[in-house]
């Protein structure tokens, strides 16, 4: 077993375990912290795929900014385990069964796909994920979507302020 495989399986196990812990934690704060662990595992996968820019952006934007926003909101509401609403056992079972059926259907589809046979994702190779290449393409071919994104951010900011304002 090569080092890449060991790293892949370790990061995958970490991601899936912490994603399951997000679901079964009763306290929402623990859910947020487990989700941060999931995002770090996914960033590790990005580094394994040599997508270094996305790895850093994932850590800064997701684990850093978005999750801190979630934590702020949870602490603002002063939620804890006593106030945690729970669905009935049958509803939980139905949700797990339907999600599992979805996964089973897609897994069997991927197992039979002829197009995916003997295709490899290049790990530790190729430099398209480096910031030099991505920046050049972003500011030449994708400059219009980039500017539209800034308008989207401005409108999201205005929307958040208008919604959050006490009327």
């Amino acid at each position: 077993m090569s080092t890449t495989e060991i790293l892949f399986f370790f990061l995958s196990a970490m991601a899936i375990f912490s994603a399951i812990m997000v679901l079964i934690s009763k306290n929402p704060i623990y859910s947020v912290l487990w989700l941060v662990v999931t995002f770090f595992a996914i960033s590790g996968h990005y580094i394994l795929l040599n997508a270094q820019f996305l790895a850093i952006v994932n850590i800064i934007v997701y684990a850093g900014a978005i999750m801190v926003l979630f934590l702020f909101v949870i602490m603002l509401m002063n939620l804890n385990q006593q106030h945690e609403p729970q669905k009935g056992l049958w509803m939980k079972l139905a949700g797990v069964i339907s999600g599992g059926c979805f996964m089973m259907v897609l897994v069997s589809l991927v197992r039979q796909a002829v197009d995916l046979k003997s295709k490899e994702a290049l790990t530790f190779g190729g430099d398209i994920g480096l910031i030099k290449n991505l920046g050049r393409v972003l500011f030449s071919d994708y400059v219009v979507p980039f500017e539209i994104t800034s308008v989207l951010f401005l409108s999201a900011m205005v929307g958040a302020i208008v919604l959050g304002k006490k009327d």
Binding site: I20, I42, Y62, M77, M91, M103
Partner: protein
């Protein structure tokens, strides 16, 4: 790594996100499960971009195939950040009006 492994991993993460969105009633946890689904899709996009690069690099060493996939991931992250800021503002407003984060309170919208 074979591309199937990445597909299985992302399917597992996406399904966990779906199960969470179906089984939890806390609206913040439902929102977090949606973020988990976003991340599964992002990881799959990066894996496929590296798959196409690996196939193109056999004939051309300096190929930049797959850059578009990684930029799509970047834009998805940007849109997700905007979505989170608006969504959390809506959740805060909901909490201020109903003093609860129970998603079942929202079923009054159907009337």
């Amino acid at each position: 790594m074979p591309i199937q492994y990445y597909i299985y991993l992302c399917l597992a993460l996406f399904s966990i996100g779906i199960i969470g969105a179906l089984t939890r009633r806390n609206v913040i946890v439902v929102f977090m499960c949606i973020e988990l689904m976003f991340n599964a899709v992002n990881l799959l996009l990066v894996a496929f971009s590296k798959m196409h690069l690996g196939m193109a690099a056999i004939s051309d060493k300096a190929s930049t195939v797959g850059t578009d996939g990684q930029l799509f991931v970047f834009f998805i992250m940007v849109v997700a950040a905007a979505e989170v800021s608006v969504g959390l503002a809506i959740i805060v407003m909901l909490f201020r009006n109903t003093h609860s984060v129970d998603i079942n309170f929202l079923n009054r919208l159907k009337n």
